[in-house]
Every structure is written in C-alpha cells, then in structure tokens.
C-alpha cells in the first residue's frame, strides 16, 4: 500500500510539473502579447499569483466546500448504524488513523464521494438513494472504494490538480475575453510600437489560451480515470470481495437520475459520474471516469485472488492494453489473498423490503426529527421546529412529551 502511495506521488509530481509548465508558458505568452518589453515576466508572476490565491482559498475552506455544495449532512452512528459500521470496518482494513466523518446527501440518485486533504480529516458522503438500493456487501464495496481514495491520497492530489486546471482555465478565459472586448482599441494603440513581432506573440498567446485548458483538462481526466481503477483495485484488496463493488456499480449505473447538486467541477469526486448525458456516448478522452461496464467486467474477471496483480491481469484482459494501471511497485510483493464468501442472502431481501420506509426515517433523522414510539405501535415523527412541548398520538390519543 505504501509503495503505491509513493509511486502515486512520483507520478503526481510529473503531472504537476507539466501542468505548471502550461501555466507558466500561458502567462508568459499573454504578458508578451500585451507588452513586448518585459511583459512576459509580469504575466508569469500574475499567473502564479492567481494560482496561489486559489490554493489559499481551497486550503482554508478545505473539504467543506465540496460537502456544502452537495448539501451533505453529517450523521452520528445511531442515525444509520450499518453505514457507520461499514465505514469503521473499512477504516480498520485500511489502517486509517481516524474514522472518516460520515455524511448523507438527500437525493434519490445513488452515488458517493470522499473528501478531505489528509486521512485525519477525511469524510465519506453517500446519497440516501445509495443506502436504499444497495445491500450490505455492495455498500461495503462502495465505502471501500472511497476509503481507498483517502488511503491513496487521491483527494489531495485531485484538489491540487483541479486548482492548477482551474487557474489555467481562468486565465485563458480572461485573456480571450479581454481580447474580444478591447480588440478595436488595442489595434490602434499597438500600431506604432508593436509591429510584426507582437502580432506573432498575440497569435501564439491566443493559440495557447485555447489549447492549454484543453490539454490540461485531458491530463486531469486521464489521471482521474487511472485513479478510479486504482481505487477499485484497492477496494477489492480491502474487502476481498470484488462482486460487492461490481454489483454496486451495476446498480448505480442502472439509475438514470442526475444529482442536482453535482456540477462539472465536483463530478470527478464521485464514485460514478453523477451527470449522465442521456442518449449520448461520452467520448473516452473527456470523461472523468472509466466506462462503468468496463470497471464491472474487470472486477468480475479477477481470477487470481484479491491482490493487485490479479486486478492488473483482469484489466489487461478486458481493455486489451499491456500498460500498467497499477504502479509496478504495487505488484511486487506477490501476496496471495483469497476471496471471502458473500454475506447471507436472507438478510439482503429483508433489507430491500424495509429500505423505502427506512430511507424516509433516515432523512428525518438526518434533519434532526425526534422520534417517539407510542405504545399503540405508531412512531411519531416530530420535526425539529415543532414548538409545543406535547404531542398527541393520532391513533390512540395518548399525549407524549417532546423532549429535546
């Protein structure tokens, strides 16, 4: 596991370097286009400054932005003991220093994400729809995938990469816009000093402003996809049960609902792309996630146990590509890890029948409703803004005290 993190870090540094080069070049060309004498350096300084500010913003708000934007609510163990237990189980398997905080998002679409810069301040958020649709093994698979993102330091990395990408996009956009609005004025003032050299610079800057965001985005997406595979492989290593995650992915992909609170920026964080474009096949290059069908097929063709080597082999068979999706060092120790049997089937069916009602109760618990069990069998659900101190049972007329 640690070798994996180290290998990831090495690759991340290379990627940052390339993206950083894009940013510096972009800043330089734009600066030069504005002012041929020494403008390039100013451009670079401004670009780095913008990047720095965006980093600061993300540093101070941390994972809260993602959780607030997606309207996630933190839960305590008693709200959903099973989910909390599963998170705890995965923490033990992954040897994380602290149990991640658990959040629930009130939406029907099944999905999940993890956030937080370090394993110490990590959080896992799942949607209510996910809890309703998945059985225990499947939920465990999803939580394992998210735990792997925490363990492999994917979140921190994707945040940094996202900021770098954001800076490039922002600067390009700004430049193209200023150019568009002020073009007539600029040509007049440039006519005396600039000449041909500056025109070339300007063309280069425009080309760069158009190409850099696209190139950076492609890089970002490629890395994001690779990390998804890696998280799948790690999830299997943690749970020793590939079918759990495979079945979960199948159920998640079967849903056609979008998450209202997800957008282009937050999409790469989810286990499955939350924005589904109906009737349109998303081009592989611009997708943040690998095709789900492929991820499922890889998981189901893992023949050699739950280790990384087995995932790598399955990956090569399914995609037909000889390249390494898992860093070589992760394949070195050659451990033999068997699969475990599924949890008992009975339990699963009982789950599915109960789940609709549970989901309603769950959302009320998340929103701090008080529950009172009346002896006549009715469960009273008192909203948090209920003013009176007493409440009457609608069936038997008993009066209950509302405690707070």
């Amino acid at each position: 596991m640690w070798e994996l993190i180290r290998a990831n870090r090495r690759k991340s540094l290379v990627l940052f370097f390339i993206m950083g080069m894009f940013l510096v070049l972009l800043g330089y060309l734009i600066g030069q286009a504005f002012k041929p004498q020494g403008g390039g350096i100013t451009g670079v300084v401004i670009a780095i400054f913008v990047w720095f500010i965006l980093n600061m913003i993300s540093m101070f708000s941390g994972s809260k932005i993602m959780l607030t934007v997606s309207n996630a609510k933190e839960i305590t163990p008693d709200v959903h003991p099973r989910l909390y237990n599963i998170v705890e189980e995965m923490r033990m398997a992954a040897n994380l220093p602290k149990t991640p905080k658990v959040y629930i998002i009130n939406t029907e679409a099944p999905n999940a994400f993890a956030t937080g810069r370090t394993p110490d301040d990590a959080a896992i958020a799942v949607t209510a729809g996910l809890l309703a649709k998945l059985n225990r093994d499947e939920l465990q698979g999803v939580v394992a995938h998210e735990t792997s993102h925490i363990l492999n330091r994917d979140i921190r990395f994707m945040t940094y990469a996202g900021i770098m990408l954001g800076t490039i996009v922002l600067i390009s956009e700004l430049y193209l816009r200023t150019l568009f609005f002020s073009s007539s004025a600029r040509y007049r003032s440039d006519s005396k000093g600039g000449g041909q050299g500056q025109l070339i610079m300007m063309v280069l800057a425009i080309v760069m402003a158009i190409l850099a965001p696209i190139a950076a985005q492609l890089l970002y997406f490629a890395i994001s996809r690779k990390r998804e595979y890696l998280a799948d492989a790690s999830a299997v290593r943690l749970t020793r049960y590939p079918e759990g995650l495979a079945a979960a992915l199948e159920k998640i992909s079967g849903s056609t609902q979008d998450i209202e609170t997800a957008n282009k920026v937050t999409a790469p964080m989810y286990i499955v792309n939350p924005l589904k474009k109906k009737g349109m096949k998303i081009a592989d290059l611009t997708s943040t996630h690998p095709p789900i069908s492929e991820r499922i097929r890889i998981l189901r063709s893992m023949a050699g146990g739950a280790n990384f080597t087995s995932y790598q082999q399955a990956w090569s068979t399914v995609t037909g590509s000889p390249s390494h999706i898992i860093p070589r060092s992760g394949l070195a120790d050659n451990e033999s890890l068997g699969f475990r049997p599924p949890a008992s089937g009975e339990d699963i069916e009982a789950d599915m029948k109960q789940s609709r009602r549970d989901l309603g109760n769950l959302m009320m618990a998340v929103n701090q409703y008080t529950f009172i069990d009346c002896p006549c069998g009715v469960k009273l659900k008192v909203p948090p803004d209920y003013k009176s101190l007493q409440v009457e049972c609608p069936r038997c007329g008993r009066i209950h005290k509302v405690s707070d």
Binding site: W2, P81, E89, A93, R340, A350
Partner: protein, 191 residues
C-alpha cells in the same frame, strides 16, 4: 578540513541509524497496535452476546440448547487465559453463534424485531471487524518483516534484536464460513 569531513560523515551515519531504528520501532508498534484492535473487537463480541440472548430468548422456545451453548462458549472464551485456549474458545463461540443464526431462520417474528435486527447488524459488523483487523494485522506484519529482512535495516534489526512476527492465518477454507479466531500462530512471534 579532513577531521571536519570525517565528523560530518559520522554525524550523518549516526542520524541515518537513528532513523532506521525509529522506523523499525514504529513498524513494531503498528504490529502491536493492529493486534490490540483484534482484541478490542473480540471483547466487543463478548459484550454483545448477553443482549442478544436476552432479546432472542422470548421468541425461541425450542432452542434452549443452542442458547446455552452460546452462553457457555462466551464464558469459556472470557475466562480463557493462555492464547492457545483463547483461540480454541473463540473458535467454539464463533461456531455456536453460527448455529444460533441458522436457528433464527425458523422465527419470522424474531427476524422482524427491530431490536434483534440492530443486534444482528452489530454482531455481524463486529465479526467483519475481527476479520478486517486481522487482515490489517497481517499487512502490518508484512511491512515489518520486509523491513527486518531488507538491507540496510536488517543490520539494525540484528543489532537490536528485532524479531520477525508471524502472520495470523486461518487454518483452512471451511473456517472462513464461520468466523473463527486462531490465536496460535501469534504466540510464537510475539513472546
């Protein structure tokens, strides 16, 4: 000039050795910590059983033997002192719980009882936690043993008497059906 360089080299080497030594200590502590997590979960399982028996008793009129065997297995497991005895007792307890789970299938009322469902979830999660903490223990042992065997940390390990830990393995496939704890292999490494 020369003495200074020699001094610098000596300081660097000393710090390097300290680093290696601390690294080994950290890994050994992680192995021990991983082991204590298994213990915590075993204890949690013992704590859950009286509640479970209490909830189940009202429903299961014809299963007195099963219930008694669970209670007995629990008290045996709790009173076991030596690690070998513990391993055996926990194994028997796991088996008894498995039987109880089979017996429950015949009582639909019980299966719908909220209290029971809650306990059931706690118990199966505890068993998962036992097996996941065992898994983690083995991971930590692997890191630790690798470090002890690999150059150059093996020299430090030899000097300060770091001993290899043993993996915690289940004996065969059938054991995995009913979570069973085998503490035997642990004894040899950790004394």
């Amino acid at each position: 000039m020369v003495p200074l360089v020699v001094l610098a080299i000596i300081i660097i080497v000393v710090f390097y050795i300290i680093g290696l030594y601390n690294g080994l200590i950290r890994l050994r502590n992680q192995v021990q910590n991983a082991w204590s997590q298994i213990d915590v979960q075993l204890k949690r399982r013992h704590d859950l059983i009286p509640n479970l028996i209490e909830t189940v008793r009202g429903y299961m009129k014809h299963e007195r033997e099963t219930l008694e065997s669970v209670t007995k297995a629990r008290s045996d497991a709790m009173s076991a002192v030596s690690v070998a005895d513990k391993a055996k007792a926990e194994g028997i307890l796991g088996g008894a719980l498995g039987q109880l789970r089979v017996a429950v299938e015949a009582y639909p009322d019980l299966k719908a009882n909220q209290n029971f469902l809650g306990l059931q979830e706690e118990l199966s999660s505890t068993e998962n936690k036992i097996s996941f903490s065992r898994q983690n223990y083995n991971d930590q042992v692997l890191f630790y043993n690798n470090k002890i065997q690999m150059f150059p940390s093996n020299i430090i390990a030899g000097m300060f008497n770091f001993v290899k830990s043993d993996f915690f393995q289940l004996e065969d496939k059938a054991d995995k059906e009913v979570p069973k704890v085998n503490l035997e292999s642990y004894t040899s490494g950790q004394k």
